[in-house]
Point group: C2
Chain length 431, copies 2
C-alpha cells in the first residue's frame, strides 16, 4: 500500500481524488432515469412490468408482484438456521440502540395561557429499497427497517428486484420478515423508485424511500427528492484509521482491507504519526491481500483510493481526518477518547483496538448506513430521526396576545403584509 | 370565495390542483441553472461578478463584495428604531423556543466494557440565502439564522443580491446583525448558491445552504444537494383552517387572507363542518378583500387555490387536512386539543381563536420556515436539528467482543465479505 507524507499538496490531491467517486458525476445516466420516472408516473404498473421484463428478464404482473406467505416459508426452509440465529441476535442489539434515539413531543406553557411545543409524528408510509444481484446483504435490510419500526411507521414496504424466475433471494426475505416488513414487491432499479414515489395500481405511494442501490437507483432517488423524502445518497464505502505508534499493525491492516473489499471505488486510508507503523501496516496489507477471496477488488480499490498518510503530529492527523470526513473512523491511539473529542466529521467512530469496523456493520447496534464521500460534514447515520417529522404547536390566549398585538402588526406592516397585520388586528377591533 | 362540498372527487381535484405549484415542475429553467453552476464552479469569483453585473446590474468585485461595518452602521441609522425594537423582542422569543430543541450527545455502557453512543456536532459552515428585490422579510432572516446560532454553528455567512448601486437593503442588514451573522456577501440568484456550494476566492464553501429564493435559487439548491446539504425546497405559502360552528367567521376570513396575500400561488383553504360558517366566511372574505392593499394578488390566489370545503363531520374534515398536509393549520373548534391529537401532517398547528397564523410568522418563537406543498407528510419545520449532525460511537473491549466474534464472522461470511470476517478473526488468532 502506498505510503505518502502528509503535506498540503498531498492532502489536496487526495481530497480531489476521493470526490471523483461522487454520484454527482454520473450525469450521463440522468436522461435514462428521467425517462423511466416519467414512464412509470404515466403508465404505472404497465411500465413497471415492462421494465422488469426488460432489465430483470422476469415476467411480473399484478398477481405475482407481491411476495407470498408461501415464498416466505420456503425461504425459511432453505436459509441456514445458524444464520437465522445470528440475524436474530444482531436484531436485538440494533433494536436496543435505535430505541435510545427516540424523540418525544414536548410543550412548554406560561400562566398567561400560552402553549408552545413540538409534536413528533412517525411517517405513515416508508419504502425500503433492497438491491438484488449476486451480493445479498441481510445486514442492510435490518439496518434500513429497524429504525422505521422503532419510529412507529405504520406501513413499511419493501421493493427488491426478482431473478429471472421471478424469485427473491431467500436470505433477503428472512431478514425482511425478521425485521418486521409486511409487504415485499418484486421490482428493482429506477422503476422501483418511481413506483414508490408516484404509486401504481399494485404499489402504494410512500412518504420516504430509503436504501442503497446502483447508480440508476441513486439518480432516481435524487430526482424524486422533494416529491417524497429520501435518505442520503449512498456512495462507495470508506474507512479512515487514525493510529499512533501504539497501534497493532496487523489489526490496522485487516480493518483497512475490510472496506477495500466492498468495491473498486471503496477507500481505505490510514493516517498515522508513526512511520514505523506505516511501514509495518503496508507489509501486513500485502500479506493479507494474497489470502483474501476478493483479492482483485481489493487491489483495485487500494490502487485507486488507498493511502497510508504519515502526519507530523496527532493534531495534523486529526485535521486531515476531519477534512476527509470518512464514513467509518477508527481511532487506535494511546488515548482514543481524547482524540474522539476533536473529531468533528465522521459517520461512525470506533474507539480502541477491539472496536473493529465490521463489529459496527453487523452487530453492535448503531446503524451501518452512514454518510459517505465527505457528507459526514453535514449528514448523519440513518436513524429513528429519519422516520419521524415534527410539527410546531402554537396556542395563545387573548390575555397573552393582547400585550403584543401591536408589535406583531407593526412587524407585518414593515414587510408590507397588511393582511397579516389585519388578521391580528381583527381580534382586538372595537365594533 | 368558492364553497365546495367535500367528496372524494372534489378532494382529488383539489389535491391535484395544489400539486401544480410544485417546484418539481419547472424543468425549463434547469439548463440555465446548470450552466450557472458549472460556470461558477470553474471560474469562481470572475463568474460571480459577471452574473451580478448581468442580473443585478451591480459592479461587484473582490473589494466590495463583503458588506462593511460602515454599511451596517448606516443601516442602523436609517431603519426605524421602533422596528429594531420589535425585531429584538421577536428575537428573544425565537431564541427561547429554539433553545428547547437542542439535542445532546449521549452514551450507554455495559460493565463488559462496551460503550455505544451518539455524538452531536454542530455544522462548521452555514450559508443563509436572503432574497433581494422590493419585498424585504427581516422575519425570515431571524428564522433562518437563529437555529444555526443556537446549534453552535462556527461560521454563519449570508448572501443576498445587491441593488444596482451595490447596496443591500438596510432592514436585511439590521436583522442579520441582530441575529448574529458576521459576514454578508453581495451576491444573489443561482450564482450565490453555486458560490456557497463550491467556494470562490471571496466566498467560503459551506456545509449547508438554507433560505428561500426564486425558482432559480430553488433549482440551484436542489442541484447541489448531496455535494452540500440544503433545507427543504420552499414552495408557495399555505393555510388550512379546520373549523366547526363555534368559530368566529371574521377571524377565519382574516386568517385565510393573511396567506392569500403572499403570492398568486399561495393557497388558503377552510375545511368546516358548518355550512352556515362557510357562507359567513365567504362574505367576510369578500368584504376584507376590498379594503386590503394586496387585493390583486389575493384575488388571483383565491381564484387559483382558495377553497371553502364543507365536510359532513369532523372526522372527514381531519382526514382531508391530513391529506393536504398544509404548511399552516389552524384549529378553531370547540375542543382544539382533541382535534390536534388526530393531526398527522402539518408544518405548524395553531390552536384556538387567538392563535392566528401571523403570530407564528413573527413573534411566538417557533420557526416560520415550514414544509409546504404536502411535504409536511415527511419534512419538519426548520430547526436546530438542521444545523447539527450525529456520529455513532462504538467502543468494545476484548471481553465484550470475545463471546460474539464467531457470530460476526459468520454473518460477514454469509455476505461473502471475507475481509470483514478476517478483521474480527485476526483479533483472536493464536499465533
Amino acid at each position: 500500500m502506498r505510503i505518502v507524507e502528509l503535506t498540503k499538496d498531498t492532502k489536496d490531491n487526495i481530497l480531489e481524488n476521493l470526490l471523483k467517486r461522487s454520484p454527482n458525476n454520473y450525469g450521463e445516466y440522468e436522461a435514462v432515469v428521467s425517462d423511466i420516472l416519467a414512464n412509470v408516473k404515466a403508465n404505472k404498473d404497465a411500465a413497471v412490468f415492462e421494465y422488469t421484463l426488460k432489465f430483470d428478464k422476469a415476467a411480473i404482473n399484478a398477481d405475482n408482484i407481491l411476495v407470498t406467505q408461501d415464498e416466505i416459508e420456503e425461504a425459511y426452509s432453505v436459509v441456514e438456521p445458524a444464520l437465522i440465529d445470528v440475524i436474530r441476535k444482531a436484531l436485538v442489539n440494533i433494536e436496543d440502540y435505535h430505541r435510545k434515539q427516540k424523540q418525544y413531543s414536548w410543550f412548554d406553557s406560561t400562566p398567561q395561557g400560552t402553549i408552545l411545543g413540538q409534536k413528533v409524528t412517525p411517517l405513515e408510509w416508508v419504502g425500503v429499497y433492497v438491491p438484488g444481484g449476486k451480493a445479498v446483504y441481510p445486514s442492510s435490510v435490518l439496518m434500513n427497517v429497524v429504525p422505521a419500526v422503532v419510529a412507529g411507521v405504520d406501513h413499511i414496504i419493501m421493493t427488491t428486484p426478482p431473478n429471472k424466475e421471478g424469485k427473491v433471494n431467500p436470505v433477503t426475505l428472512v431478514a425482511a420478515k425478521e425485521a418486521g416488513v409486511k409487504e415485499i414487491y418484486k421490482v428493482g432499479g429506477a422503476q422501483a423508485i418511481a413506483a414508490l414515489a408516484y404509486g401504481t395500481e399494485s404499489i402504494p405511494k410512500v412518504d420516504k424511500i430509503v436504501g442503497p442501490g446502483n447508480i440508476f437507483v441513486a439518480l432516481a432517488k435524487k430526482s424524486v427528492y422533494g416529491h417524497v423524502s429520501i435518505d442520503s445518497i449512498a456512495g462507495p464505502s470508506e474507512i479512515l484509521v487514525l493510529a499512533d505508534e501504539t497501534a497493532n499493525p496487523r489489526y490496522v491492516a485487516a480493518d483497512l482491507l475490510s472496506q477495500a473489499e466492498h468495491d473498486e471505488l471503496a477507500s481505505s486510508i490510514l493516517v498515522t504519526t508513526s512511520r514505523e507503523l506505516a511501514e509495518k501496516v503496508s507489509v501486513e496489507v500485502e500479506n493479507f491481500v494474497q489470502v483474501l477471496s476478493r483479492k482483485e477488488i481489493i487491489e483495485k480499490s487500494l490502487n485507486n483510493y488507498g493511502y497510508i498518510l504519515v502526519a507530523k503530529d496527532m493534531e495534523e492527523a486529526i485535521a486531515v481526518a476531519n477534512e476527509i470526513a470518512s464514513e467509518h473512523l477508527e481511532i487506535m491511539t494511546k488515548d482514543p477518547y481524547a482524540v474522539m473529542t476533536k473529531i468533528r466529521n465522521a459517520g461512525a467512530i470506533f474507539l480502541g483496538e477491539y472496536s473493529s469496523e465490521p463489529l459496527g456493520d453487523y452487530f453492535a447496534g448503531p446503524n451501518h448506513i452512514l454518510p459517505t464521500n465527505g457528507t459526514a460534514k453535514f449528514f448523519s447515520p440513518l436513524s429513528v430521526d429519519d422516520f419521524i417529522k415534527k410539527s410546531s404547536i402554537i396556542s395563545y390566549s387573548r390575555e397573552a396576545l393582547e400585550p403584543i398585538h401591536k408589535d406583531i402588526e407593526q412587524f407585518a406592516k414593515s414587510e408590507q403584509l397588511t393582511a397579516h397585520a389585519n388578521s391580528i388586528a381583527v381580534r382586538f377591533e372595537t365594533l
